[in-house]
């Protein structure tokens, strides 16, 4: 018997008349690593926002197991005009930790994204990729059961991406967390996820084990989308 995860039923998101997301049913198992891929405008961010509770769906239900904590990193996260340390510390300020425990948490999170060297730099002085690492560390510092990351490495170079992905995997193992990550890159899906969901115009075009879907896409659309990978 697998542990109860997230259940989505009859989910519809509309902007005006336009339906941008329509998911009849979707289950996200506990401790699994999901990648959501799909072209621009497919509805990846919309789905993640609804899971995070920052956007209210037009119809349908999203059930997240009670007791689960959820951390969400938006596609365009905000970096505050204060030190890198304070940028991360804000995430654990209300966690009831002592000062030294807080410091330890922040340093741990910064270490895993490789930003410990810039701990006292100002948030506004960072490069795009460095800023992204800080925002990721901010979410890591919180130790959530469900991590929702929207293109968390879009501004990182390939080397940085791999280091951060590795950190992410270790983090997930350590805290037994469930991951949902949106990405444009099938290669990233391959590296970090074991399950994949392909979105196309707001609908699930295909889903299943990452290896199967990437190597043997069933639908024409997914075949076409993946044909641009490794050209």
């Amino acid at each position: 018997m697998t542990e109860q995860g997230v259940h989505i039923q009859d989910l519809v998101m509309r902007y005006g008349e336009e339906v941008v997301l329509n998911v009849a049913s979707l289950d996200l198992g506990a401790h699994e690593k999901y990648a959501i891929i799909g072209p621009n405008g497919a509805g990846k961010t919309t789905l993640l926002r609804i899971l995070a509770g920052t956007l209210k769906q037009s119809e349908g239900t999203v059930d997240i197991p009670s007791g689960w904590t959820v951390g969400y990193l938006p596609q365009h996260p905000f970096v505050f005009n204060m030190s890198v340390f304070r940028n991360v510390e804000m995430a654990v300020q209300d966690a009831g930790l002592s000062r030294s425990e807080r410091e330890k948490r922040v340093n741990e999170a910064l270490e895993i994204v490789g930003m410990l060297d810039l701990v006292s730099a100002r948030g506004t002085e960072l490069s795009g990729g460095q800023a992204q690492r800080v925002t990721l560390a901010r979410v890591f510092a919180q130790h959530h059961d469900l991590l929702l990351l929207d293109e968390p490495t879009s501004a990182m170079d390939i080397k940085g991406t791999i280091i951060v992905e590795d950190a992410l995997k270790r983090y997930l193992d350590q805290y037994q967390a469930t991951l949902v990550v949106c990405t444009h890159a099938p290669s990233q899906a391959q590296r970090v996820s074991n399950k994949i969901i392909v979105l196309e115009e707001g609908r699930i075009a295909e889903q299943g084990p990452t290896v199967d879907v990437l190597q043997n896409p069933q639908s024409e659309m997914v075949q076409e989308f993946l044909s641009y990978w490794r050209l």
């Binding site: 920052t54 904590t69 365009h76 204060m82 060297d117 791999i162 280091i163 992905e165």
Partner: protein
């Protein structure tokens, strides 16, 4: 030139009319600025931060008020404070208080509008990020204020500049009464009308000087707020970097 020099020295001579005019001007500007900021900044932040029905209409009204002709603000205050007006019994017409009131009516919408705009630009991204890490509304608001602090602070100088340079409303409700409500701008008008051009120019120069000093202070604060301290930029390192990269290469190849 001689006149000008004399004018400048008299500003710093206690008891001279010019120094007295300067003092009244500064006093009026100080109170107008302080009151407008105290009302405008919190109001603007609140409007910019919160999402409510009719926000667009409120912003439109605010924009209209930002362009309110000063004479009109003067007229409104004049009617309210005149003998037969609702506050006529306070006998405030032709006092500095009346001038400050008119200026608060003029400047508060400007400060409110600027604050709302400043905050609105930051809010969407900040809000989503704050929600993502579960920040409380109160904390989020504090971080928002902190983020906009230098911009909000700079409105003091906008307000002050507006205040010392204003003529129409001040003339109408202050009456340009010698030793009482005469300020730099109204004095310039009077001297020009009398044909005392040197005096008018001297007053203008003093006004310009005050403006210059205020703006310099503003710039100083701005620079302090935004100067990026130089920092060595290091390539982020990782404990088992080599092994991790080797592993990653297999997947990306």
């Amino acid at each position: 030139m001689q006149e000008l020099f004399e004018a400048l020295t008299t500003v710093f001579t206690p008891g001279s009319e010019l120094s007295q005019i300067t003092l009244v001007t500064l006093k009026m500007a100080f109170f107008s600025t302080t009151i407008s900021m105290l009302i405008g900044v919190p109001l603007g932040v609140l409007i910019g931060y919160s999402d409510f029905r009719g926000k667009r209409i409120v912003l439109r009204i605010l924009n209209t008020l930002m362009g309110l002709p000063p004479v009109l603000a003067g007229l409104i205050v004049f009617f309210i404070l005149s003998r037969s007006g609702p506050l006529g019994s306070f006998r405030l017409l032709y006092t500095v208080q009346a001038m400050v009131t008119a200026q608060v009516i003029l400047i508060t919408p400007i400060v409110t509008g600027l604050a709302a705009t400043a905050v609105t630009q930051v809010v969407p991204k900040l809000h989503e990020t704050a929600q993502g890490i579960g920040l409380s509304r109160g904390r989020e608001l504090l971080y928002l204020l902190n983020e906009c602090r230098s911009q909000l602070f700079s409105f003091i100088f906008v307000a002050f500049g507006r205040s010392i340079g204003e003529v129409g409303a001040v003339m109408l409700v202050g009456g340009n009464v010698q030793y009482k409500t005469r300020v730099m701008t109204t004095a310039i008008m009077l001297e020009t009308n009398k044909g005392n051009f040197e005096m008018a120019v001297a007053l203008g120069v003093v006004l310009l000087l005050i403006s210059f000093v205020i703006n310099s202070i503003a710039l100083l604060f701005d620079e302090r707020g935004f100067t990026a301290r130089r920092r060595r930029s290091t390539i982020p390192r990782h404990k088992d970097e080599k092994a991790v990269l080797q592993e990653g290469k297999k997947d990306t190849a």
